[in-house]
């Protein structure tokens, strides 16, 4: 899917529309994360080896979440500078700040989804 265009300040869509787009990007990734982690953990329960899998799944989720969050904030804080540096050093790779931000938002959403899915599944296991 092509990246959504980055609008100049005066042409940006209304705030509600921007929020919806961002929510959709993160929300779908969270959903995918929840589904995948729940499915994987259910598989380990069926296989009878769930003792450490909840911990490992949560740690993997937090790894992805941490990477995504760091990448997102890095893109916001340094993105324009990196773009400008690439232009000045003639090493343009087509990397842009808005694209990086969107990609990282999806990654952090997925990680968050895995963490939430693991928490939910783990809590059910503990109470059962």
């Amino acid at each position: 899917m092509p990246a959504e265009p980055d609008h100049p300040t005066e042409e940006r869509p209304p705030l509600v529309e921007q929020a919806t787009v961002r929510l959709r990007i993160v929300g779908t990734a969270v959903l995918v994360g929840v589904l995948i982690s729940t499915g994987a953990l259910a598989g380990t329960v069926l296989a009878g080896a769930y003792a450490t899998s909840v911990d490992t799944a949560f740690a993997l989720g937090s790894l992805v979440f941490g990477f995504g969050l760091l990448g997102w904030s890095g893109a916001v804080a340094l993105g324009r500078g990196i773009e400008s540096m690439q232009n000045h050093l003639d090493t343009g790779t087509g990397w842009t700040e808005p694209d990086a931000r969107r990609a990282m938002a999806r990654i952090l959403g997925f990680g968050l989804g895995v963490m939430l899915g693991t928490m939910g599944f783990g809590s059910v296991l503990v109470s059962a």
Partner: protein
């Protein structure tokens, strides 16, 4: 004038950066092999004692509870006590004793990089396609390409072993006790504050080689950026207008060109600070200077998790603070950036 809103927005960005780093540290330590409770208790400890340690560290709680507690502690810069390296010493104390070493190295490295890189970049741009330009560009390319683990020993061999001009390792001569005059932890500053010129000279002589090693890398990138940025600015209409009005070439470049050409260079200086901290790990090892980088490597090797967590988060915090400073400088140079 910088707006408070701009600074606040940039300060808020510190939060996700630190949460991201804390999450990465937590997950990596959790996924890496080794049992912290067993490390603390010792290989020969009884099972009951290991369980007691586990309980006291909260390792029996669900992982998300441990994660939440870790984030809450990290938010207050509480990392507990060192397990192994300095047993039972709070991590904050360990870091406070080592951090100034790395900071001093990075600061002098950056100082060398900026003070040489900017003039060389301007010179290279103003004398485009001349011998000076070619030499500067070759120098910059060499500086970027040569790794610290190679240039460090090479400089030691040349300036310390063969010529005998400078010391090979350490921060100051073993004859002096710097702990007695410790104020900032930065040896060069402390010796100066104490008014002891012999100690100061010794500290500076010890700093020259390691700071040069990381400074050369920094200088190379800054001069390359400065040249490219200055070339772009020189071609602007306002520069041509200033020259057409009879202003001298030097004045035009320094008065009108420098400020605008500095904008992308300042960004690089900030981004590079992280690189300098990373480079300091290698430099500290090559020159046997016990800083925070060496501490991190040692902590990873022996599995001293609280030190690893504290060090990595301190690195991240410093890096983001420097970038906040860069953003503010950036907005002073070009107020449109705040928009």
């Amino acid at each position: 004038m910088i707006s408070t809103r701009f600074v606040l927005k940039r300060l808020l960005l510190l939060v996700p950066v630190l949460v991201g780093v804390a999450s990465l540290v937590f997950s990596i330590l959790h996924l890496s092999p080794g049992d912290p409770a067993l490390t603390i208790a010792g290989e020969r400890a009884s099972e009951e004692f290991v369980r007691q340690v586990e309980e006291s560290l909260g390792l029996n709680d669900p992982i998300w509870v441990q994660y939440g507690r870790f984030l809450a502690d990290a938010a207050q810069f509480q990392f507990g006590e060192s397990f192994i390296i300095q047993r039972n010493t709070p991590v904050r104390e360990v870091l406070a004793s080592k951090l100034p070493v790395t900071l001093e190295l990075a600061l002098y490295g950056q100082l060398i990089g900026v003070s040489l890189g900017i003039p060389l970049g301007i010179l290279s741009a103003v004398k485009q396609d001349s011998i000076t330009d070619h030499l500067t560009r070759i120098g910059a390319l060499t500086g970027i390409s040569v790794p610290i683990f190679w240039s460090g020993p090479l400089l030691i061999l040349l300036f310390a072993q063969m010529l005998g001009w400078l010391p090979t390792s350490g921060r100051i001569s073993v004859l002096y006790n710097v702990e007695a005059i410790r104020v900032t932890g930065l040896v060069t500053i402390d010796t100066l504050l104490a008014g002891n010129m012999e100690m100061f000279v010794s500290a500076v002589r010890h700093m020259i080689l390691p700071a040069s090693v990381i400074g050369v890398y920094s200088m190379a990138l800054i001069s390359r950026m400065m040249r490219s940025s200055m070339l772009e600015v020189i071609r602007q209409d306002y520069m041509r207008t200033a020259r057409a009005k009879g202003q001298g070439a030097k004045i035009t470049v320094l008065k009108h060109g420098f400020r605008n050409a500095m904008i992308p260079v300042i960004t690089v200086i900030g981004i590079q600070f992280g690189g300098l901290l990373g480079g300091a790990v290698l430099t500290e090892t090559v020159f046997a200077i016990g800083g925070i980088g060496t501490l991190l490597v040692e902590a990873i090797k022996v599995g001293d998790y609280p030190i690893v967590q504290g060090t990595v988060l301190t690195f991240a915090f410093l890096f983001t603070l420097v970038n906040l400073g860069v953003d503010i400088t950036y907005s002073i140079l070009d107020p449109r950036i705040e928009q």
